[in-house]
Amino acid sequence: MNVDRITSLFEKDLNVINMGLESFSETLVEQGVQSTHVFWSPPAGGDARLLEALDVLNSRKEEIDLANKKALEIIQKGKPEIIDIQIAIDVIPRMTARTVLHAGPPVTWENMCGPMKGAVIGGLIFEGLAHTREEAEQLASSGEIIFDPCHHHSTVGPMAGIVTASMPVWVMKNAVYGNRAYATLNEGLGKVLRYGAFSHEVIDKLRWMRDELAPILKKALERHGPVDMKNLIAQVLQMGDEGHNRNRAGTSLFIREMAPHLVRLDEDRETIAKVFTFMHLNDHFFLNLTMPACKCIIDGARDIENSSLIVTQARNGTEFGIQISGLGDRWFTGPASKVDGLYLPGYTADDAGLDIGDSTITETVGIGGFAMAAAPAIVQFVGGTPEDAMNFTLDMYEITLGENSVFQIPSLDFRGTPTGIDLMKIIERGIYPVINTGIAHKDPGVGMVGAGLVKPPANCFDEALLAFAERVK
């Protein structure tokens, strides 16, 4: 009988981890014993069906661990680079003149929320397929328009996420795995298409972006060469951004990268100045770069048999949906949640639309809400303290496969961000991914009304786990 570990316990200082009654830990601390109390919650909320599924999965733990290890490695090694700006129809797979891509899981025109309908209207007017709101609505409901999630086309879009044929898009390439990802250029704040606004000024801005901004940036980018997004994101995390709701440092860094090339272009001084000003006045310009960068990283880890990695979480304003690496293209959805947040002057919770956008792609590779500890300033936006930001991130380590090898958080002693969301851990720990997001007005055409935190619907994770257990069994 080997009792070495017991006798060595007798020789060491007692060091306790306590689970359950906290007073057991407190009395030990009073005695000067090191004791760590675990803030525990029951796995799967105590749901017998889910616990049974977890048991099934745990019996195949080795294969799942191996698959997840591979998935995490792909995330860690992925290297997205901005290589170009192109017109959507020329580069996005299976894009047609009558295709409208949208955020989140699949949704029909009839079931779309207000902001998404507004953005579709704007998109159709921008394409010249309709001239008025009424014409656009008629066309959208006629069945002649192909609506499809951005995610089905290696694309991601913030908020409504509408992408139409002639919009310019960033082209991101994964230098290690070769896959590409796309996203439109960010339109700025205020009345913008992604929040469902479609007035003349919105359409005019989109045209300027297509005709002037995009070609100029494309030329500057050609002079600069591929931009290493992984490196830029790593830098912005050390400058107070988290890459989802705070992109001030990222936008500044991007301007710095581009500036020497922009000024050398053979363009009118005022035209160049307008490009600079546009980027400068829009703190979220960089968001439309972090999103396709993250998409480009995580897409490398899709379709790995036995992997419980979440490869997509996205919302269309009606539903929240996730996809699992080991379950292919299947969506698991639940009703989109209300956002708990703060509102811009003049707006209240009554004006708020439900949770919307593909921007939650950032969390799948360990930035955004998962890196909130790097961006303490963000919590003011959601009415919290810097300590809350820290705790959000610490909680996310409970549901991720590992720590990022490149994205680090200075205040956590440069610990890598929690990376690779594991469906199994979510159910086991009863902890759900933290999401911070902007809030769109519920009606088409109004725009952004606030920002806050949102809880994803639990049922889509539950159903995904049951399906995963069925598949692995």
Binding site: I6, T7, K12, L14, N15, V16, G20, V33, T36
Partner: protein
């Protein structure tokens, strides 16, 4: 030599510093130590002791004072280092308070030096976490009950394979490296190692060891089913015995268990014999065997402690029932039984500790015949209504039937208070027998909480022209935070007779019942 340090603006609370103080005083070569805040009173005290240099005299109540009197400078330095070590532990804990890890895995990451996991989660989740703990190389103390036999077997097999402790399920008491875990007492350090398949049994034996001037190395709990169920087969008891065998500090081994399966008991005795260390065994409610070689058999929890202390001190052990001289016992019995009325016939034992209740049942049965209880193994003597006493009755109020929706009566005394009030109206009650369990985990004043009810019960008996003797024993030591002496005084203030152990309390009650029978 005297070595004094004044640490400016470093505040700690006084109770914590007192604990450090007593730790440091135990170190070799230390003649005296004062670790305290620089309050006026403390500085006066240091002046009187001749320890106050100019530095100490200028200290304020926000400054920490560390004064060490030792045989030489080196010892003083070691002691100062020990003080800071203990202080830092506290600081570390406080700074980490903002964030509590959400899972065992994260706790291990934050605290890689962790070596023990205490689990008091609901039973259906406890086994899952225990398995994770064992797989991470951590010893486990599982307070939770409602864990299946199958899970217990699986966990203990895993623990054996890994060479780790799996104390429990349903393990309420352990003392590891001198630290009481969950429900346990502050027992002096010494050379007696105890393994017990009984929580209150372990509390009673370790407290008695302390009372009789002995001390312990480790108090290992196994959970109540370890020896009872042949499928578990005493796995943790065997591990505990082997660990104590290999532990150089342990000179004497004491083993206690609730009734054990026959083949399991044999296995335990053989293992104990093989340790080559003197040992004492007590299987509660089983006939005592005759001594073999270095192995002794005790007839009660108290005797287990007595024999262990005698072995530890190399003294011979001579059996006796009472600590007090026979004449004094006779006087107490005569005094207490004299005023009992002819209507008063039965003993009523109202217990919070399960094993001590069992011990009382067994002792009483041998003399008075049938004793009813919710704990009775004999079916015909199980209480038909657990809330109503019949004949001689001893109840274990820690039983689930009494604690639905409320904490164990050791934590929340109201369960017993209510029962005392009910018994008080029963004119057939002749003697009341109670236990008072001190130590960590227990209520802050378990005697004070029931004292009004006890007084009332005695007054009611007198109103019926009778008299109610209340016999109590206090499980605990002088160092338990509730205060042993204070507890005894509280009980005595209500006219209770306080005996040094549950065994002696039970035997005194038996004597009074016997005496009443002859009246």
């Amino acid at each position: 030599m005297i070595h004094a340090i004044v640490e400016k603006d470093l505040y700690f609370d006084s109770v914590f510093l007192m604990l450090i103080n007593s730790e440091v005083k135990k170190l070799k070569g230390i003649l005296n130590a004062v670790v305290s805040m620089g309050t006026e009173m403390n500085i006066e005290l240091l002046k009187d002791m001749g320890y106050a240099d100019e530095n100490v005299l200028t200290a304020t109540s926000n400054d920490l004072l560390v004064v060490i009197e030792s045989v030489d400078r080196e010892t003083a330095d070691t002691a100062v280092a020990a003080v800071y070590d203990l202080l830092n532990k506290k600081k570390k804990k406080n700074s980490g308070k903002a964030y509590q890890p959400r899972s065992l895995q994260s706790a291990v990451r934050d605290e890689p030096e962790a070596n023990m996991v205490i689990i008091s989660l609901p039973g259906e989740f406890a086994a899952r976490e225990a398995k994770t703990a064992l797989n991470n190389g951590l010893n486990v103390m599982m307070f939770s009950d409602n864990v299946s036999i199958e899970s217990e077997i699986e966990l203990k097999e895993l623990a054996c394979e890994k060479g780790l402790l799996m104390m429990g399920p349903d393990c309420g008491t352990a003392i590891i490296n001198g630290h009481p875990l969950c429900f346990a007492n502050v027992v002096a350090p010494g050379d007696i190692g105890v393994v017990a398949a009984s929580g209150t049994g372990l509390q009673e034996v370790t407290s008695c060891i302390d009372t009789f001037g002995g001390g312990i190395t480790q108090g290992i709990g196994t959970g109540g089913r370890d020896l009872k169920d042949p499928r578990i087969g005493g796995k943790m008891m065997l591990m505990g015995i082997e660990a104590l065998k290999q532990d150089p500090s342990t000179k004497v081994i004491a083993v206690i268990s609730k009734p054990a399966a026959h083949e399991v008991a044999d296995k335990i005795l053989r293992a104990l014999e093989k340790t080559g260390k003197p040992s004492v065994v007590h299987f509660i409610g089983q006939p005592r065997e005759t001594k073999r070689d270095q192995m002794h058999f005790a007839g009660s929890l108290e005797e287990t402690a007595k024999i262990a202390v005698a072995l530890s001190k190399g003294e011979s052990y001579s059996p006796s029932v009472f600590t007090l001289p026979q004449s004094e016992i006779r006087a107490i019995v005569a005094g207490e039984s004299e005023k009992i009325s002819s209507d008063q016939k039965y003993l009523r034992g109202l217990y919070t500790g399960g094993t001590v209740a069992d011990e009382a049942i067994i002792l009483l049965e041998q003399v008075t015949g049938p004793v009813y209880s919710n704990n009775q193994k004999k079916k015909e003597l199980q209480l038909p209504d657990p809330f109503k006493s019949v004949g001689h009755t001893i109840v274990d109020l820690g039983d689930d039937i009494y604690t639905v929706g409320r904490p164990h009566p050791m934590i929340d005394p109201t369960t017993r208070e209510e029962r005392i009030n009910i018994e008080a109206d029963d004119k057939e009650m002749a003697v009341m027998l109670i236990d008072i369990v001190l130590g960590y985990g227990s209520h802050k004043d378990p005697a004070g909480a029931i004292i009004a009810s006890l007084k009332e019960a005695r007054l009611k008996a007198e109103a019926r022209r009778g008299y109610l003797p209340v016999i109590a024993s206090v499980i605990g030591t002088k160092n338990d935070f509730q205060g042993y002496d204070a507890t005894v005084s509280t009980l005595e203030s209500a006219g209770c007779i306080v005996m040094p152990s549950n065994y002696q309390a039970s035997m005194l009650a038996v004597e009074i019942i016997k005496k009443r029978g002859t009246l």
